[in-house]
Assembly symmetry: C2
Homo-oligomer: 204 residues x 2
């Protein structure tokens, strides 16, 4: 241990890292108190146990989902949970251990829209640095002609470009994915859209 850092409170919209910091008080290995310090040989502050020296690394999380299309329409879900309850999104959620990114996207689509899909390809890859999150949206199509609102969804359905509730979208990443899709559909070419979001403005 070569130095101890002070944690500054960020009053902005994205407080995940702060929240994590406030939550990480005890060592998951021995139960003793941790401190935020730069371990020997490292160059970043980590939560380190004062008792057993265990280093608690924290890493970005992956959100995976699908942009499911049918004819000229896209499948949207109205969120039944926070954040952004009541706003519209693509079916997507946190990737779990033990699955691939494609499996995560398919699982989330099944959970949120009760829809079984086949994956066409990775379409958007967004790093959202203020909240330590990577979002991956895959283009996909239904393998069965069925969809319905899942447990965390109020309502779902297919929307044409004109029908999309553009002012009621839950997240900037969803807005981006839909914009790219309707733009790229004109040419039929869907290159990977690779975006880095570093700003701290509200999610929408």
């Amino acid at each position: 241990m070569i130095s101890t850092v002070t944690l500054y409170v960020d009053p902005g919209h994205h407080t995940n890292r702060l929240q994590l910091a406030l939550l990480m008080k005890f060592c998951c290995q021995c139960g003793s108190e941790v401190e935020l310090t730069i371990p020997s040989g490292d160059n970043r502050p980590r939560f380190v146990c004062r008792q057993c020296d265990f280093i608690h690394y924290q890493n970005p999380k992956i959100v995976a989902g699908c942009l499911v299309t049918q004819d000229d329409k896209v499948l949207l879900c109205k969120r039944g949970i926070e954040p952004r309850h009541g706003f519209w999104t693509l079916p997507a959620g946190f990737m779990e251990n033990g699955e691939s990114t494609r499996q995560a996207a398919q699982r989330e689509t099944l959970e949120e829209a009760c829809a079984e899909v086949s994956i066409d390809g990775l379409y958007t890859l967004t790093s959202i640095t203020p909240i330590d999150q990577i979002q991956m949206i895959y283009r996909a199509t239904l393998t069965k002609p069925y969809y319905a609102a899942g447990d965390e969804t109020l309502q779902c359905g297919f929307f044409s470009e004109a029908e999309i509730p553009w002012q009621q979208l839950a997240f900037e990443t969803i807005h981006n994915a839909l914009n790219f899709y309707f733009e790229d559909r004109k040419t039929g070419d869907f290159p990977l859209r690779h975006i880095d979001l570093h700003h701290k403005k509200p999610v929408r």
Copy 2:
């Protein structure tokens, strides 16, 4: 809490999840003991605090790196740390909070090969489900004509296809990326190579 599950020991090569499970004994929020149980409304076992009910989610980690090319050669690093000490790899490592995937790939290349690079595009995306890891390798080129072994690297240099120590590569994902690269170079087209590895054979 609706059920408690038994944790089975996997004697295979990939024990990360087991190791994590063994390490997660205490709550990071209140320091009490945790138990592996399926929280109400969930469908997967999580480490949950018996005292404060805090749920400790565990998610896949991202490894990002670069396939740096110069003329017909690729930059390789000989690993100076475990795992696979002494074997050859592309510069890559765990993505940190607060950076994008591209920034992570550039940082790792700077740390391991002292090389400043510009990113051309995402080239391989591999989910390695047995170890809960996502690997992203970007094609890149040097922005300054300099490279050298970093702190965790024994030696580094540019290798042509014939010069690559194919039998001394550290990981299967590195082998795949190099194979794809020399194959795709014939056409000059480098599509995203999207791979899911579900097997538990040794990493090489």
